[in-house]
Symmetry: C2
Subunit: 235 residues, 2 copies
């Protein structure tokens, strides 16, 4: 049975790394002494080791050890034997490229579908969707494919931002960008605001946190989704 | 001799489409009765025809006719015979995909290098660089390659935005994204603010407009470039 947390962000303004999620994570990973960390997204270009250390410092607060997938000779074996898995944020293009190049993308999907508890934040959440096509990231590397884990039947736009009505900037709003996606794609897109997450238990998908989320479907007006809503009907 | 305008944006806040550029364009395209428009980037998903009509309305003010490349049976022939060329903004992933799928990317590069006057705005400017890897756009379609026209020896970040020091949003700033690019790539990146453009005449590349631009190089602190500066030394 799937057991997944898909969080918009790792970090809230003026709060520590993963701090707002720790109460939830201590329940989510309650049967884990050690979790496997996937640091491939390398935020600001930090190394795998630096990023794993950052995750370890946060999880130490709930007495869970963290080991980077890069520390294993056989990453497929590491995934298959993991008690829990966390993929951190950073650059989605880099993360997806590394998942393909290290040949772990199908194993990662399989073990999560079989029930290994998973946490994704930001880019680590975007990959839970059908494709990475609603990332906000810059295409700093060319991935072999945009297809991702397909753990949920829609796509995620992390760090969702409402249009700034005061702005004089003419770059596209997030909503415009997602509408452009829907000129060519039928996949629904959930805009997850920072502080929101999805709690996936088997086939149920529940919006958690204090905020609403914004749901975009092709040829439909976007709607606000109340926290606590079940989104498993989407496809 | 190359004769190119590479503009950050088509439109300034509270101004009409291309309005701020029209005086410059009437000189740039002074020998053109008709220019060829490449509408492939389809902003907000509008059709090629709608987008061409929008460009035609703006160019009518300086007595230049506009014809969409989509109106020609043979787009390669259309490019080779164009008096001038304009590629409008929209989604860079879509624009690049269409340039490759219609097999026009090398011809477009060739005719501009041979001297056909060219205007790019936004996505149409991003493609003037070595690669499209500093676009801000959402990857709504998977292009065959990120490589672009290589008309200048660096990349463009259009609609460059300075960090908002008041923001509580935790998504990456533009500068952070470009720094992530430089963890893996050596190509310099010029952040062009809305209202700035590059004027390329042969091998000289001059920053125009009232604003400074921001130049990012690998392993170096970003610097501000004064308007009027020559950037042809970059590589």
């Amino acid at each position: 049975m799937k057991n997944i947390i898909i969080a918009s962000t790792s970090t809230l303004h003026e709060s520590g790394y993963l701090e707002y999620l720790l109460p939830e994570l201590s329940v989510h990973f309650k049967n884990c002494k050690t979790i496997l960390f996937i640091p491939y997204a390398r935020p600001s270009g930090i190394t795998h080791e630096e990023y794993t250390e950052k995750a370890a410092l946060a999880f130490a607060k709930i007495n869970i050890a963290v080991k980077g997938i890069n520390e294993y000779e056989d990453p497929i074996d590491a995934l298959q034997n993991a008690e829990g898995i966390f993929t951190g944020g950073g650059n989605t293009f880099l993360l997806v490229t590394q998942l393909y190049k290290n040949n772990v993308i199908s194993t990662l999907s399989d073990v999560i579908k079989k029930g290994t508890p998973y946490l994704g934040t930001s880019a680590g959440s975007v990959i839970c969707g059908l494709s990475m096509q609603n990332t906000n990231d810059m295409p700093i590397i060319y991935p072999p494919s945009f297809q991702t884990l397909g753990l949920i039947p829609f796509n995620i736009n992390a760090h969702y931002l409402d249009p700034d009505t005061q702005s004089k900037h003419m770059g596209e709003t997030r909503e415009t960008r997602i509408k452009e996606f829907h000129s060519f794609n039928t996949i629904p897109v959930l805009g997850l605001r920072e502080g929101s997450w999805l709690d996936v238990k088997g086939e149920s998908i529940t919006l958690k946190g204090n905020l609403k989320a914004r749901l975009f479907k092709q040829n439909q007006i976007a709607i606000e989704i109340q926290t606590g809503s079940d989104l498993s009907y989407l496809k």
